[in-house]
Symmetry: C2
Subunit: 159 residues, 2 copies
């Protein structure tokens, strides 16, 4: 049963991962002024794949435990917001709205982690790298916002 | 506790709903050759809002029950795929890939409904209109695909 659940939760993560394949960074992202500590492009798919596996293991473990209601509700919320960020940032080139989505995602990931820790320490620990990465992504989104004021004053939404 | 869970599941649905606000049908959708039974534009937000409330009630009810693992895993999968469809179809104008996502969503919604019925009849019933609507949306996507061959031979992806 664990492995069936793992595959279903991983499929949900792959739905989020598909947004990254559908909306690639491209020339617009390359042209942005980014801070020196921006992770290299190759790091993003590597890190996300690892995090998706961790998230799916945590989800499958928690789903089998009693009193998992809050953990399951927040797990669903974080994957929905995870799916939303890439289309908003890379699809619409909306840095400011991307920051809003990422802030909501950060809260959802933190809430999921706390709820997981209350029922399963391993599942909670599996969300720690995710929260660190979303914090990094949030700092990067914020820095890009500050460094590219022309983009948020007059966003060039592709249409 | 039910209401907190309802709000968290509803927030996940609103994440999916936000894709509809971010990627509007616009001139491209208007220009497509659509079947006569296409629902009017105003119906989509009305139906989706109703379905989101039903989905959130079903999620909150199921999350409080024992043996909810499959229902919770599939609930998360369907909301992730729900978030994915709009950016692919209305954002990228990819009718064929939209059909693929919608097919996966249909399977996920059906699986969620079956898993819900096994633990809570009311929660299962709340997913019936959703499955009917996704079936309708799938038939519309398929019809649009067949009626607009130029769009799938040479999709004009905005970039």
């Amino acid at each position: 049963m664990f492995w069936i659940l793992f595959i279903v939760f991983l499929a949900a993560c792959m739905g989020a991962g598909a947004t990254g394949a559908a909306f690639k960074p491209g020339a617009w992202y390359q042209s942005l002024d980014k801070p020196s500590w921006t992770p290299p492009d190759w790091a993003f798919p590597v890190v996300w794949t690892t995090l998706y596996i961790f998230m799916a293991v945590a989800g499958a473990r928690a789903s089998l435990l009693p009193d998992n209601s809050l953990a399951m509700a927040f797990w669903a919320l974080q994957i929905a917001l995870n799916c939303l960020w890439t289309p908003v940032f890379f699809g619409l080139h909306r840095i400011r709205e991307g920051m809003l989505v990422l802030s909501c995602l950060w809260i959802a990931v933190a809430a999921t982690m706390i709820a997981l820790f209350q029922i399963d320490t391993i599942a909670g620990l599996l969300f720690v790298p995710y929260l660190i990465w979303v914090t990094t992504a949030g700092a990067l989104n914020l820095s890009v916002w500050q460094r590219n004021p022309q983009e948020t004053r007059n966003p060039q939404t592709p249409s």
